[in-house]
Symmetry: C2
Subunit: 197 residues, 2 copies
């Protein structure tokens, strides 16, 4: 069976178009907000609206797919799997990295929190993806808290992600640079109180 | 000197129009986000666009004025001035009230945080008003922390408003109801560690 050049290159071209679109959606929605227009997205991606609508029927679908794509990439916040860190050190790692990223002028906070705050609609597909990704982070904290000996790992995880979201939101709007290890010192105090060593 | 009926009622009518507009802006931008359209705002307020543009030249100006108006009203979060509470109890009061408000289905988090997250532009007049109002809350925490004997009241205030924003953001997107006094218990732990009694 032979393939024509068209048949063999089409999927690649579509994949490239999809990638460029989702990159533009991620960048522009993070920088300017979810109300960024479809025209601006297509222009930034160098993709026609016709091509866009072949791949996605709504902007919300694109927003959701751009979050999925971002979450599938390695996170700069998570410690290396084989880093030899204790559960408590792994938790601290996340907050120390967040503090390093926070002062950047391009930083607008956690993209998954911002998406939910902006859309104000838990039924929106992009809100649902964002909520799921944050629940995964919360479960990650919970598992580390359990391994670290917390009496109530679920409650510790709720506290940690609250600090995470508060820190990233305040840094994202430029209200606090988190300098002086503001967030990680709070986390250290909370872990002490919760018996996570 | 006599006034014609027109001359005496005009200022009242304009004030009423302004009030209705700002109430609609506050309600709809909080519920649906800052991208709410001028047509929807005028319709909800029962005001013509012509009347609106006599009062405000841009939507951002209206957003800013609606936050000013909201902040000028008595806050349900702050303890009564003559309540006889200690500085620490006054801090706890704020977080306990926030926990009571959080589970409401209409709750979308702190309106001043949400506005800044959504606008993503510190130069926007509405962002500037929102940032100023939150700095006032931070200074309020700082003064109470100082009165309560904190070693570093400024740092305590940064921690408290971080918890405030994290709690209100997570409750506002429906990620956490704050049940079990999640935020106030964290604040209590942090105040213990900071020497605020």
């Amino acid at each position: 069976m032979t393939q024509t050049p068209t048949a063999s290159t089409e999927p690649t071209a579509a994949a490239g178009t999809r990638e460029r679109l989702l990159e533009a959606v991620a960048t522009l929605s993070y920088r300017d907000g979810v109300s960024v227009g479809v025209d601006a997205l297509c222009k930034a991606a160098g993709v026609s609206k016709r091509s866009m609508y072949k791949l996605f029927s709504t902007k919300d679908e694109m927003l959701a797919a751009s979050l999925e794509r971002r979450a599938a990439q390695p996170s700069a916040l998570l410690p290396p799997a084989d880093g030899g860190l204790s559960p408590r050190e792994q938790i601290m790692y996340v907050f120390e990295r967040a503090e390093e990223i926070a002062p950047s002028p391009e930083y607008r906070g956690c993209p998954y929190l911002a998406m939910q705050v902006e859309l104000k609609d838990a039924e929106n597909p992009a809100s649902q993806v964002a909520a799921r990704i944050k629940r995964e982070l919360q479960r990650y904290f919970e598992e580390l808290a359990r391994q670290g000996g917390a009496e109530d790992p679920q409650r510790v995880a709720r506290q940690l992600i609250l600090v995470f979201d508060g820190a990233s939101a305040r840094a994202g709007i430029g209200a606090d640079s988190l300098e002086g290890h503001l967030a990680s010192a709070m986390v250290s105090t909370l872990l002490d109180a919760a018996g996570v060593h």
